[in-house]
Symmetry: C2
């Protein structure tokens, strides 16, 4: 394969045809969602050793390679994909990835991709406006206005959480960057916070002991009334609260913490309020769902993954700040070869991200919006949330099943309860389902109890698919029961 326009055209055309066929079959719900072979077998099928040693991929072999590659992929476009919370990507996002891959404009330095840099900054303004943190006159207003929010796109929600927490630390302990983190800082988070919160705190050198669990109800939703006594106790212990973290929504159940009450408490006590909206912040785009995020404008920082409910391929996550100055404080490092070496004609995001080289992340989201418009995205969110509620009623009414709770989002936890309700049985059902490969769902644990878990990421998932899923679970449950 030649590294020129002929090579690109010849091979891309073959790949495009394969992708179109894959898409069609998947969207029609044909074939399996996942066939999971052992790694050694896949390596053999893909002839990895040969290609790496010898090269020489050509049209004929590309055809064969693509067949093997796609056959051993997860089929997210299939209406039976109801698994992890990653986007069933809009095809427009794939086109953005294609452009990025061919031209490689890593725009964290404006010069390295002006178009891509402008698109990212524009989308940050769009997101800030949805949160209520944008003070410009129109979305192309790129001035760093006083009291304006700020934000940056980064490679994933975990990195976004790490960035937000670094900013929170810089705000309460500005000397930490130079002298190290003082050992009296703690972070309050509900136990259902995404693992990247606690992981960030450990990466940041504070240790797991610095994460204090905020009391939650039986569904793991934060009790805002528990904050004040906790705050008093921490103060009495001589510790300082670096941040209060809330979920919007939780990964396991998809329930939102009461942001307004938590925000009010943080304002009253001058505490940094961070919202992990990786999954649920997208509801801000929907007029009928944004009430779930009431009070979010009280937060100091927010993360929001576009590679979940905004249909961008992974990764494309935003970390947003109510006050841009806080973003500027998160990282304070300089490098002479890259900073301050040129006249400023645009803007560099480099100082505000962990990444030095960064991909053109904004273009993924932009292409989805350019295809669908923000109304199209709002419809998608409404549909997935509303469908999930319908599916909840369907499952809840079925004599063999019980749902954990009424869903607020597109995440739904349930159990097959006809024969056994124990964890091993639910896990065994899930494993057998995956083994059969007709459906892809996940599972989760809450209060020590294992649930089957659906995330409806696909607009094509209809009631008939859920009925077929329940039938398959019933069959599997029978087969597992002696």
């Amino acid at each position: 394969m030649k590294n020129n326009s002929h090579g690109l055209k010849n091979i891309s055309t073959i790949v495009l045809n394969k992708l179109c066929a894959y898409l069609e079959i998947s969207q029609q719900g044909k074939e399996k969602t996942l066939i999971q072979k052992p790694a050694e077998e896949i390596a053999e099928l893909l002839q990895l050793e040969k290609w790496v040693k010898e090269g020489g991929l050509d049209p004929v072999s590309t055809n064969l390679f693509m067949d093997a590659y796609l056959a051993n992929s997860q089929h997210l476009h299939h209406p039976h994909y109801m698994g992890h919370q990653v986007a069933v990507p809009h095809v427009a996002s794939g086109i953005a990835d294609f452009i990025h891959g061919v031209i490689n404009n890593p725009m964290a330095i404006y010069e390295m991709g002006p178009s891509a840099a402008v698109i990212e900054r524009f989308l940050i303004n769009w997101m800030l406006e949805k949160v209520g943190w944008f003070k410009g006159t129109h979305l192309s207003d790129f001035r760093n206005l006083k009291n304006n929010g700020g934000g940056v796109l980064t490679h994933g929600g975990s990195l976004a959480n790490l960035t937000a927490l670094s900013a929170a630390r810089a705000a309460i302990a500005p000397e930490a960057w130079i002298n190290g983190t003082p050992d009296d800082l703690v972070v309050l988070a509900p136990e259902e916070a995404h693992y990247s919160i606690a992981r960030s705190i450990s990466i940041m050198g504070m240790g797991q002991n610095a994460v204090i669990s905020v009391p939650v109800n039986t569904l793991k939703v934060m009790k805002p009334e528990a904050l004040l006594p906790l705050y008093r106790k921490i103060k009495a212990d001589g510790k300082k609260i670096m941040a209060v973290v809330a979920n919007a929504c939780t990964t396991a159940t998809g329930l939102y913490d009461p942001l307004d009450e938590i925000g009010h408490f943080c304002e009253e006590n001058n505490l940094w309020f961070h919202v992990d909206g990786a999954h649920g912040a997208s509801a801000l785009v929907s007029n009928t769902k944004k009430h779930l995020l009431k009070g979010i404008e009280r937060a100091d920082s927010l993360i929001w993954d576009a590679h979940k409910m905004l249909r961008a391929s992974s990764l494309c996550a935003a970390v947003l700040f109510k006050d841009r100055k806080n973003m500027e404080r998160a990282f304070q490092q300089k490098g002479s070869y890259i900073f301050h070496e040129k006249e400023e004609i645009g803007f560099d995001t480099l100082p505000y991200t962990v990444e030095c080289t960064k991909a053109a992340l904004g273009t993924k989201l932009f292409w989805v919006l350019a295809a669908e418009g923000e109304k199209g995205i709002a419809n998608y969110i409404d549909n997935t949330y509303n469908h999930t509620h319908k599916f909840y009623q369907l499952i809840q009414q079925h004599p063999d099943f019980t749902c954990l709770c009424e869903p607020e989002t597109n995440i739904l936890c349930f159990q097959h309860t006809k024969f056994r309700t124990d964890n091993d049985f639910q896990l065994a059902i899930r494993n057998e389902l995956i083994h059969k490969g007709n459906f892809y769902i996940t599972s989760t644990e809450l209060n020590g109890v294992r649930y089957l878990r659906l995330t409806i990421m696909n607009n094509l998932t209809k009631e008939s698919h859920i009925k077929a899923l329940l039938d398959e679970i019933i069959e599997v449950a029978k087969s597992l029961t002696p």
Copy 2:
């Protein structure tokens, strides 16, 4: 634009044609490398507000959008691109991005992309073999053998450095994850270490004061003989060395630290040795250049960016460990909804990365290798390194120019010295060059002195292009001299 195979085919075909034309014109050295317009103007040209609000991208508007988008991009395929160290991507890497974007298989959990997961693990074996850390019988040997190396691909070198340093911390202070980092740890690094090293240390809560500069020569290459006295002093001060960091190569000058001597010292004193090979580790693929990395197998950890000299589009970085067990210690967090919920049929990289959702990074590098074979990559590295040495001789011999030093890699620092040698003048030359847009080069500072800086990332860059660059610099220098 429809989210189905018709939509994908219609719009991709237009985009592909535009990319082919862009590639052809760029590779032929036509038009400018960079036209850098102000952000507001680009936002207007791209009609961002309209697309985000209304959507509806169709074939006609895609054509217009692509023209505006590509015109305001950095043209890395142009032989006059000699700027930052990001890949002039092989077009095969763009095809990998296209596939990822359409099917979105974030394979950090095996189930979410078996093909992509296997490719990543295979390439990690390939890289480990180049370093001398692979103990398997063939590259598809995925067993976790005793004393085998380990590694993972991550979104960029900065994140890779952070991961390696987290592992170094876990090795010397296993309790840090739970109790916080002890305050007696320091890291030794030459002052020319990439800014992400010091930044990682601050993110990790240790503060800049924990970074101790190792003495270097006038070209900022580490003096290994300086390590022992420094080590004794640090010990006498009651501090512990968490890691010794070396550059392979430095960002500014492209010179390699003497890894063998540093490795020997670290072995003698039982210290963690980390090599930042983001740019220069790729020379391991070349039989004629790998001597520059002599002793690298003595390291405990190594980072290696495939989105630099291995021609993958950004991002695709590896963090590699001599001992896989050290990788497993870097992060210790658990999350019940994602870990341990299934039978293990393949392997998950999730526990070893900062990222939870991760893109199919390995496929970018794999496609380049499948196109070129490892010999093709070796030739590319040889060529760029050898060409740079020729260009050095050419520039050095020119009466108007002086080079900083003989280059070891494809990075070259020089000055126009006919009229003035001061920093402002060199910067003014660079700024005016960028303004004209015919060439893209960078600049760097060493010992307080500003140099113009080339990185030869493009095989198409020939002597004639360098002569044209020198002519343009001479003209610019004249125009800046009253």
